[in-house]
C-alpha cells in the first residue's frame, strides 16, 4: 500500500462572491482557522468552471450575483457537479433571501452577512466529519 491512501483527504471549499474583497476576506479567514483548502470565484461563470475542475466539498455562495439569482446559481452548480454534489451554503446580505435559503433543500446552511465565524467553522467541521453528500439531493 502506498502511503498516500493514509493521508486524510483535504477538504476543498469554494467561496463565490462578486465582491472581490468579501470573497478574499472569507477565504483568508477560513484558511487561517481550518485545514480546508480554500479558493475564491468572483462570478457565476468563474464559479462553474472552478467547481467543475476542482470538485469542491462545499461552496459558500453569494445569492445576488450577475447573471442569475441565487437559486438559479445553486441549480447551475448542482447540475454541473451532479457526479459529486458539494454542500451548498448561502451567504447573503439580503435577509429575505437568507430566510428563503434556510428552508430550501438545496442549501445545507444559510448565513446572513457578515457571517458568524464560529457558525461558519462549525458548518465546515460538520461537512468534514460527515459522509460525502450523495446524489440525488438535487433541485426540487
Amino acid at each position: 500500500m502506498s502511503a498516500q491512501t493514509h493521508v486524510p483527504a483535504t477538504h476543498r471549499l469554494l467561496v463565490v462572491d462578486d465582491d472581490h474583497d468579501c470573497a478574499d476576506a472569507i477565504c483568508e479567514l477560513i484558511r487561517m482557522s481550518s485545514d480546508w483548502e480554500v479558493e475564491a470565484a468572483y462570478g457565476l461563470h468563474d464559479a462553474l468552471s472552478h467547481a467543475v475542475a476542482h470538485c469542491p466539498d462545499a461552496v459558500l455562495l453569494d445569492l445576488e450575483m450577475p447573471g442569475g439569482d441565487g437559486l438559479q446559481t445553486a441549480d447551475c452548480l448542482l447540475e454541473a457537479l451532479s457526479v459529486r454534489l458539494p454542500q451548498l451554503v448561502a451567504v447573503t446580505g439580503n435577509s429575505n433571501l437568507q430566510l428563503e435559503a434556510s428552508s430550501d433543500s438545496r442549501f445545507a446552511g444559510s448565513l446572513l452577512k457578515p457571517p458568524d465565524t464560529a457558525q461558519l467553522l462549525q458548518l465546515l467541521a460538520r461537512f468534514a466529519a460527515g459522509p460525502p453528500r450523495s446524489p440525488p439531493h438535487g433541485p426540487v
Binding site: E28, M65, G67, K113, T117
Partner: protein, 388 residues
C-alpha cells in the same frame, strides 16, 4: 347651471386645464402615464360631483371637512386614494401631489364663475359642498400617498442594509484574520487594506444617505463655493478613480478657461459619481471620456461619456430621481440609486443643471453645466419645490 351639473358637463375642459398643469410638475410627471393621470383626475371629479348631489347631514359635512368622511362606500379604494398612491410611486413630492388638487379646485371654480352663474344662497351652499368634497378627496389622496411613500422607504432600507452588509462582512472577516495573524506574528497586508476599503465604502454609502435624507426634509444641499480650477478638481477625481480601476482608460479633453467659483468637494463628488457610473454601466473595458469646457464667459460644462447601449427615454426621465438603480454592465446592482440624484442636487445647488443624452451610436453623455461664479446657495430642495 348648478355647480355639480357644471362639473359633469364641463369635465373635458376642466381636465384639460388640470392636465396642462400636471405636466408642469416635471420631472416626476414626465414618467407618469398621461392617461392614468387623466383617468384618475376624471374619477376624482366624478366622485365629487356625485357626492355633491347626495343629501348630507350636518355631521357628515363636519366629518368631511375634517377628512373623516369618505367619498365612496365600501372597501374599494377611492379614486382619490389611488391617485395619491400613484403620485408617490411616480416620484412626486407631497407638495406636488397636493398641488394637483389646488389646480382641480381652481379650474372648477374659475370655469364655473366664467360661465356666469347666478350667485344666490343655493350656489354658495353648493360651493361649500364642493370644497368639502375636494378636501375629503385631498385627505384620502395624501393618506395613501404617505402609506405608499412609507412602503418605498422600507424597500429602500432593505437595499441599504444589504449594501452595508457586504463591506461589513469584509471588515469582520478581515479583522478576525488580523487577530489570528497577530497571535501567529504574521503580517496580513491584504486584510488591512480590505478593512480600509470596506470602511471607506460604508462611509460613502452613509454620506450619500445623509445627503438624500437632508434633501428630503427640505434642508437641501448647501454649497460653499471658493475659487477653484475645474481642471484640477477633475484631475484629482480621475487620479483617485484611476487607482481604483487601473484597467479603465479615462481620457480628458480640456477647452477654454476652467477657473471659476464652485464648491470643490461637491463638484468633485458629482464628477466622481458620473465617472464611476460610466465605468460601471458603460461597455465593460471601454474608455471613459471626460470633456471640460470653459469657452463661455459665464458657464463651465463637464461632460462624461461612455460607450454602451442607449438608455431608453422612459428610464432617462427617472434617472435623476432618488432610489432608481440602473443595471450595470456586469449586471450587479452596486449602489443605492442615489448617485445621479446627488449629482443633480449638487448641480442645482450651484445654480446649474445636469442632463443626459443617450444613443446606441454615440453612447451615453451626462452633462453638468455650472455657472462660472456660483453663489453660496440656499437649499436646493426648496427650489425644487417651487411651483410653476
Amino acid at each position: 347651471m348648478a355647480l355639480s351639473e357644471f362639473i359633469t358637463a364641463q369635465q373635458e375642459a376642466i381636465l384639460a386645464e388640470c392636465e396642462a398643469f400636471a405636466q408642469t410638475l416635471l420631472p416626476a410627471a414626465a414618467k407618469m402615464d398621461r392617461e392614468a393621470l387623466r383617468d384618475h383626475a376624471a374619477q376624482v371629479l366624478a366622485a365629487i360631483a356625485l357626492d355633491m348631489k347626495q343629501p348630507q347631514t350636518r355631521r357628515q359635512a363636519r366629518d368631511k371637512s375634517r377628512g373623516r368622511g369618505a367619498l365612496a362606500e365600501g372597501d374599494e379604494p377611492t379614486a382619490a386614494s389611488t391617485h395619491g398612491g400613484l403620485r408617490a410611486t411616480a416620484g412626486f413630492d407631497v407638495n406636488q401631489a397636493a398641488a394637483e388638487y389646488r389646480a382641480l379646485r381652481a379650474s372648477v371654480i374659475r370655469l364655473w364663475l366664467e360661465s356666469g352663474p347666478r350667485l344666490g344662497r343655493e350656489e354658495v351652499f353648493e360651493l361649500v359642498r364642493f370644497n368639502e368634497a375636494m378636501d375629503q378627496a385631498l385627505a384620502e389622496s395624501i393618506l395613501n400617498f404617505a402609506a405608499e411613500a412609507a412602503h418605498m422607504r422600507n424597500l429602500f432600507l432593505g437595499v441599504l442594509s444589504h449594501e452595508l452588509r457586504t463591506p461589513l462582512a469584509t471588515i469582520v472577516a478581515s479583522a478576525h484574520s488580523l487577530v489570528l495573524a497577530t497571535r501567529l506574528q504574521k503580517h496580513l497586508p491584504g486584510a488591512a487594506e480590505r478593512v480600509l476599503r470596506g470602511g471607506k465604502r460604508i462611509e460613502s454609502l452613509l454620506n450619500d444617505l445623509l445627503d438624500y435624507v437632508r434633501s428630503g426634509i427640505g434642508e437641501g444641499m448647501r454649497v460653499a463655493p471658493t475659487a477653484v480650477d475645474l481642471g484640477q478638481v477633475c484631475d484629482r477625481v480621475i487620479g483617485e478613480l484611476q487607482a481604483l480601476y487601473p484597467q479603465i482608460v479615462i481620457e480628458v479633453d480640456r477647452r477654454g478657461e476652467l477657473a471659476g467659483v464652485c464648491d470643490e468637494q461637491r463638484v468633485a463628488q458629482a464628477v466622481s459619481n458620473l465617472i464611476s457610473n460610466a465605468i460601471k454601466y458603460g461597455t465593460s473595458g471601454a474608455p471613459v471620456q471626460v470633456e471640460l469646457s470653459g469657452e463661455e464667459d459665464d458657464e463651465m460644462t463637464i461632460r462624461v461619456r461612455n460607450a454602451g447601449p442607449a438608455i431608453s427615454t422612459e428610464t432617462r426621465d427617472s434617472l435623476f430621481e432618488p432610489l432608481v438603480r440602473g443595471v450595470t454592465s456586469d449586471g450587479t446592482g452596486v449602489n443605492l440609486g442615489l448617485g445621479l440624484y446627488i449629482v443633480r442636487e449638487i448641480a442645482q445647488a450651484h445654480g446649474g443643471s445636469v442632463d443626459v443624452d443617450s444613443s446606441a451610436e454615440h453612447g451615453t453623455v451626462f452633462e453638468i453645466r455650472l455657472p462660472r461664479h456660483a453663489d453660496a446657495s440656499e437649499a436646493s430642495a426648496f427650489s425644487s419645490l417651487r411651483m410653476n
